[in-house]
Symmetry: C2
Subunit: 611 residues, 2 copies
């Protein structure tokens, strides 16, 4: 956040000389914050590992102790998830409550333009943009990398016999080298004055992906080459490639569903001609449809990386193949290898958005404004991309975290846990998991609506009690609105936050009673809850994110002049869709990413409770 605020003005200044300068400044500003986030997460996990390594208890060999460490670091992942939930959910509620509240009372009731300084909620709205987009997404990817590194390390423990400590350290090595690849990717981005800046950003992404592939090749060959499974290293290298390809496909699919060059957004714009109702129906249908291709991609990625891992030649003492889950872990690492670059692109969005605002307010010539406008529209796309990428990596990593949980249960009980949905109790737990996702989404959207209505009440009060505001003779009390929206967001966060933490605990502790001796029904029920909630959460998040993004760009498409352009009936209908989409794509959807991972880490940390 600190970085992005300071970069805004530099981008505005750079836009006065050339598009290339502006693009590079914005992206590098984003990169500072993006790479910092990933690096901090890596330092946290790596530092804890190093610190704990030095603290082996007496009588435990260094090798044995190294196998215990990943289970101890789990608490770090849980802490990161917990903070991320509040950053993402609270930030999302904050930004959208301020946005919706300021717009409804300002534009609709008082008839003053958007971002007019007479609107007492305008400062809260601007603050919200940074709180939600930068802090929220940063916290999301921070905990993603943390949780997934830990999950992969736990799977590495399983293969300790074959790989030794290399298997545990492999994820950290990949992440560290991936950061360097991202830096190179950011450095090579440049654009001509008249070219599409998105192409330049995509080029930088391909360079990063290609470099990560090379890194994977050497890291696999160095760390994962062992005598008793000579094929293992290249099997895992291919798993990494699967992860990289998956992330590229997710970027393409998200673009297809949220850019107005393609059918989905155009169908929403077309439906806007017959009013807000058909616009909403079309947007909901596009959002639901947009889950199909990502799920198929993830399905293929999970199965193929698992199969490659299984056939790697790694076997346990009984001769059974055990490398499969590590294969999905490596694919996740491949997907997360480009996280630094993706996050740089994400922060690029708010930076260009605010740079445009600065250019506008400081009355620069048309040509400068044109440059920042082009960068701003690219920024909208990159923001949507990051969400697609985040949900993709959450889906791929889900399996990693389940496996970590199942391992933890095996360590505690000495039994391999199955998660058998055909048992009625387990099925009911799964049903509860899916319900949790619907409940949480409902609470997140209601929270936005309620916090927005408290903003509306305050703005109305100020307008009524101090008539000088509307005449421009009196300054509105901006601070009161900031306070209200802050308190509102914090209050609205309590119920969904408590729900996520308490629900799995209650299910685990209550359902424990239904099992016979040696059945571990509590642990099995929690696993079913976790898995079905993850499945439903992935779909619901995709639906909410892409639906919201598609509505936003359908409105933008109409603003380019289609179907009557601005001020037409179609545009009014599209604005309704856009407003509905706001809590979809900026509050409920991204909070579900965190929900999925928080459920995974909370069950992992509290596993002993359920046994």
């Amino acid at each position: 956040m600190w970085v992005s605020i300071r970069t805004n003005i530099r981008v505005a200044a750079a836009a006065m000389t050339s598009l290339n300068d502006a693009l590079q400044t914005a992206l590098r500003g984003g990169a500072v914050s993006g790479l910092f986030t990933v690096a901090m997460s890596l330092l946290g996990v790596g530092g804890l590992f190093a610190a704990l390594s030095a603290m082996a208890p007496a009588g435990v060999s260094q090798a044995e102790w190294a196998q215990d460490i990943p289970f101890l670091i789990v608490g770090y992942g849980f802490g990161a998830s917990f903070v991320a939930l509040f950053a993402q959910l609270g930030g999302g509620i904050y930004t959208k409550a301020a946005d919706v509240g300021a717009d409804l009372v300002g534009k609709v009731e008082a008839g003053i333009p958007e971002d007019d300084p007479r609107n007492p909620a305008v400062i809260a709205d601007l603050v919200g943009d940074n709180v939600g987009d930068c802090a929220g997404r940063g916290a999301d990817l921070f905990e993603s990398t943390a949780a997934e590194n830990i999950g992969a390390m736990i799977l590495g423990v399983l293969l300790f016999k074959s790989f030794g400590i290399n298997g545990i350290l492999f994820p950290l090595v990949i992440m560290a080298l991936g950061l360097i690849c991202s830096i190179v990717g950011v450095m090579v981005v440049k654009t001509k004055e008249d070219a599409d800046p998105m192409k330049a950003l995509n080029f930088g992404y391909y360079v990063t992906a290609a470099l990560v592939t090379v890194v994977f090749f050497f890291a696999s060959r160095t760390l994962l080459q062992v005598a008793d499974a000579p094929d293992a290293w290249w099997h895992y290298f291919l798993c990494g490639v699967i992860g990289i390809v998956t992330s590229i496909l997710f970027v393409f699919i998200t673009q297809y569903y949220t850019e107005y060059r393609y059918r989905p957004v155009l169908s929403i714009a077309e439906a806007s001609q017959t009013g807000p109702a058909t616009n909403i129906i079309a947007g909901l249908a596009v959002g639901m449809e947009s889950t199909v291709l990502p799920v198929i991609t993830i399905g293929i990625a999970i199965i193929s990386s698992y199969s490659l891992g299984q056939s790697s030649g790694l076997v346990n003492d009984a001769g059974v193949a055990i490398g499969g889950l590590f294969g999905t872990a490596v694919a996740t690492m491949g997907m997360l290898g480009t996280a630094g670059y993706i996050l740089a692109m994400d922060v690029f969005g708010p930076i260009t958005d605010n740079a445009g605002g600065i250019v506008e307010m400081s009355r620069q010539p048309e040509s400068v404004r044109d440059k920042t406008d082009r960068l701003d529209s690219v920024g909208n796309t990159t923001k949507a991309l990051t969400k697609g990428y985040a949900i993709g990596s959450a889906a791929l990593a889900a399996f990693l975290l389940f496996s970590a949980y199942l391992d933890e249960v095996r360590n505690l009980t000495g039994q391999t846990l199955r998660v058998d949905l055909s048992k009625p109790v387990v099925f009911v737990a799964g049903l509860m998991g899916a319900m949790l996702v619907f409940w949480f989404s409902s609470l997140a959207m209601t929270a936005v609506r309620k916090a927005a209505s408290s903003v509306i009440t305050e703005v109305r009060r100020q307008f009524r009690e101090r008539p000088g505001i509307m005449q421009g003779t009196e300054e509105p009390d901006y601070a009161a609105c900031v306070d209200i929206v802050t308190v509102g967001a914090l209050k609205a966060m309590i119920l969904p936050g408590a729900l996520v933490v308490l629900f799995p605990i209650v299910i685990g502790v209550v359902f424990k009673r239904f099992g016979g001796p040696g059945e571990y029904m509590g642990a099995e029920s929690v696993a079913a809850l976790l898995m079905v909630a993850t499945i439903t959460g992935i779909l619901m998040a995709g639906f909410l994110n892409n639906g919201g993004g598609a509505w936003d760009n359908a409105k933008k498409y109409i603003e380019t002049g289609a179907y009557g352009g601005k001020r037409s009936e179609a545009h009014k209908a599209a604005v309704v869709g856009d407003t509905v989409g706001d809590p979809f794509k900026d509050t409920a959807g991204p909070s579900l990413h965190v929900l999925i991972k928080l459920l995974a880490t909370i069950t992992l940390v509290l596993a002993p409770l359920f046994i």
Copy 2:
């Protein structure tokens, strides 16, 4: 449909004498059609059982043959599901496409009132009401009773050692006696002139439920009392009571979320003040929240009836308790015991709706119109109730049909199948199942939008080419609109219909390859797909049905004068929500009920393919 059309006019005539006469006429008209549907379903299953009983192959004893019959009748359930899908989905698309199309071009563009005879689409709209509501819901409950009877009979086969043929016949006996209870329930309904007709209908429902409880007591004691498990009969009697209580709770919960006496609908009405966008957000949030209590109810019902069944004292040769699943089956029977009465209440809805139209058109005095209006608003509630009941029974029955599938797989392979979500391939199949629900919902909503737009094009063409229509001098071509919406609905049905049938087959056949020898990965994957699709489908259907119903009644509440009443801005916003809710509650939601059951029967019939 035939019955309901003929009853309309009698209700209109009866309303001229008294409210009680009108109520009784409408309910009994509904009962003829409702009881006929359930009776036909029962006759089909019972008749097939009787016919097949007489055809035991040479060398197979009558007792052994009776155990095979339920598996043979499965094809009947599949056929019923298949027809129901087309009746429900096609009917839903038909009715809403005609409705949305007629309204948008007539009310919005041409500025003529709703149901104005100058609108060429008005006949298609009126036809659609009957097609969607009566035919669709009837087909839905027809196949529900068929599929669930067959599922329960299959579970009865498992207990053949204890109960003999009684266990197989028990479901049929309960359904037959339940029909008689429903008839009594319908007969006792009467109301005073100034009382709330809903209370009278609820009283009839309680009478039916009480009678079904008595029937359960005697049927369990007669058919399920066996020497080696003396407690079994009253355990199963309690399971039946659980089912009856569940159905009553579902009726209450649906009322809470869709009637404007309670908080959820009021919150939507309140949000309408700030425009259509907040109305939509509030409606979506209410729809999502409305899944919570039903899921908890179903969870408790499944676990408690399963536990009661497990502790019934029935054991297999190895001494393991095996009566649990039959317990959930009996609970489902309890829930379906009142199906006749529920369906009578459902058909009551369109009858009173059309009776109101007849009274309006034939210019009856205000007092008569007032009576039919009161019945009409009750009819809206009963229509919502049936959907809640249908999804509740689908959820409870889901387990029945899974178990039938697992039994079929055991019969084919000789192994008990687990559905272990912790296997990556099985997890991916589950993910695909959830995705199928989102995809199907998207297709259903898009189908409505597309068919509606073909209606709009046709109406615009007629207005343009034949200007006499608007002046009232020329009769519009009603038939052309009926044709277009029929063809449109049939065409739009192809893709979602094919998807439901082909998707599980493709998954089963492809995923079969991923298993090692003796793993039956195809069958296990299909089971996971079925179960997760059922979970997601239950939630999505609840979300769509209740959200749609809540929007509808929020609009009705504003029409009573709240927030400015008709023609206010709040009312306009509420109309947008209502229009979005139409394909939710009348197309996508009810079609999902059928989707769930069709998936179950299709996998059951095609189980040999997946092995």
